[in-house]
């Protein structure tokens, strides 16, 4: 333990021995749980060769890769479009025209309050759109609205003096925005934006529920194959590390950017928000 915390004293020899004991006991308990889980896997015959054989076939590997490609495609579309929508709605919320401001506030609040899945189902079922556009549209509306809030708070986080100085130099509204506020704000917002993109990546899996042929869908196809003795657990064991790994990479990237930005002199006039995917929820400030 290198950093000291205010919650407990730096342990002496007695406490250290006690902590070691706790640590050993809990490690044993955790390992026992993991062992039990493994035993269950073996006991229910999840490691038989029939159940793992499908992954040897090229057709099935291609199916999985295609699913992964479709997931990434939906993610790419959704992230680009939601960044654009977020910029538009964010600009609307910062506008000086009352009508524009009110409309975009209404839209942002509404789409943030609705479950994404309800929007996706509405577009898919009621408007009878193909799965991919429905998924992308639903994700765009939700993440765009959240990003609009990120943009707005980011612009507000730039020190007041920056905008005032630019106005004093005789710059116009648009110039102040594009030359002074946005360049500084974007650097500071980058971690929050990337964290929101992690949410978008996670939510592409909702496409599974509207029969979009993404990664999870490919997995389901393999898992429900009787020829391989319904290899459900193997499929989960293969798919989840890939999914979780992708999201983790993106999350770590956000944290890395945040740490880099906090040291950078270019963001001095802005409070850099820490990268926390969990806090970008409606009502969280």
């Amino acid at each position: 333990m290198t950093e000291s915390t205010a919650l407990y004293d730096i342990p002496g020899p007695h406490a250290r021995r006690r902590h070691l004991l706790y640590g050993l006991v809990s490690t044993v308990v955790i390992l026992a749980l993991a062992g039990w889980f493994l035993y269950l896997l073996f006991d229910t015959e999840q490691f038989t060769s029939t159940k793992w054989s499908p992954f040897l076939y090229e057709g099935i590997q291609e199916l999985l890769l295609e699913g992964l490609g479709n997931t990434l495609k939906a993610f790419a579309y959704a992230s680009v479009l939601s960044l654009a929508l977020g910029a538009v709605l964010g600009a609307g919320r910062l506008s000086e025209h009352r009508v524009l401001r009110w409309t975009s506030t209404l839209l942002v609040e509404f789409f943030r309050a609705m479950p994404v899945l309800v929007m996706i189902f509405f577009i898919f079922v009621a408007l009878k759109v193909q799965p991919l556009p429905a998924l992308v549209a639903g994700l765009t509306l939700y993440n765009g609205s959240v990003l609009a809030e990120v943009f707005r708070t980011g612009i507000h986080a730039v020190a007041r003096g920056q905008g005032e100085a630019a106005y004093a130099l005789g710059m116009r509204k648009t110039q102040v925005m594009t030359y002074v506020l946005v360049p500084q704000a974007v650097r500071a917002m980058l971690p929050a934006i990337i964290s929101q993109l992690v949410v978008a990546l996670k939510d592409t899996s909702l496409g599974f529920l509207i029969t979009y042929e993404e990664f999870l869908h490919a997995g389901k196809l393999i898992a429900s194959n009787l020829d391989y003795d319904l290899p459900f657990i193997p499929v989960v064991l293969v798919i989840s590390p890939i999914y979780i790994g992708m999201c983790m990479l993106l999350s770590w990237f956000a944290t890395w950017v945040a740490r880099r930005e906090r040291r950078s002199p270019k963001t001095k006039a802005v409070d850099v928000a820490p990268a926390e995917p969990g806090t970008l929820l409606p009502g969280a400030q």
Partner: protein, 214 residues
């Protein structure tokens, strides 16, 4: 308009299903999140590692994947429970990771001096955390916990797609009965708005009662 009046019981059933899911999963998420948050600040290394792994993995898991694994995977181990219980488990575990992070950052907002003062009075780790730090942290975490629970209520819609009775799932029956699909969704949306607005009103009251500006 008559979509609602004709099918009031169906909507009511779905609405109650969503409320039930939300309440049970919130309780589970709060308890688990609390346990994990105390693990993450504990002096014992293996607890900290366990808490960190739990939070990192669950925060980066797509909820659909978790539902998929829990709902269709656990029965393979001979664990047969009603779908509602599985849904509560998946939602609760998923949200507990977010609750844990909120609590941990809440603990970090309590000034160091408070913990140090408690220690210098000879309090143990449990006493410091339970009697001094957490009561203060509780006041700052009310709004973020509220938004986490709102997200939980919204996420419960996914359970509907895995054949649990809840609000979004009602659209299937209604469209089979031939009702106007747009109005069906409008009333579903209203149902979700009622739930999320109730939660945010509740937390607004809590915030007024106990919250402090720091």
């Amino acid at each position: 308009m008559d979509v609602l009046t004709d099918n009031f019981s169906l909507y009511g059933e779905g609405f109650l299903g969503t409320v039930e899911l939300t309440v049970y999963a919130s309780a589970l998420a709060l308890v688990l999140g609390f346990v994990m948050a105390s693990f993450r600040v504990a002096p014992v290394g293996s607890f900290r590692v366990f808490g960190t792994v739990w939070v990192t993995v669950l925060r980066n898991t797509p909820l659909t994947l978790l539902f998929f694994a829990v709902m269709l995977g656990l029965p393979r181990f001979g664990l047969v429970l009603p779908f509602e219980v599985f849904a509560v488990l998946a939602l609760g575990c998923y949200t507990s990771a977010f609750v844990c992070e909120v609590l941990r950052s809440g603990i970090n907002t309590v000034p160091r001096g408070q913990g140090e003062a408690a220690r210098s009075l000879g309090m143990t780790f449990t006493q410091t955390l339970g009697a001094v730090v957490l009561p203060q942290a509780f006041r700052t975490v009310i709004p973020p916990i509220g938004s986490t629970l709102i997200a939980l209520a919204k996420n419960s819609a996914i359970a509907g797609a895995f054949s649990v009775t809840e609000l979004l799932g009602t659209y299937k029956t209604l469209s089979e009965l031939g009702y106007n699909i747009v109005w069906t969704f409008v009333w579903i949306a209203v149902g979700y708005l009622i739930i999320t607005l109730t939660i945010s009103a509740l937390f607004h009251v809590l915030e007024k009662r106990w919250g402090v500006a720091r």
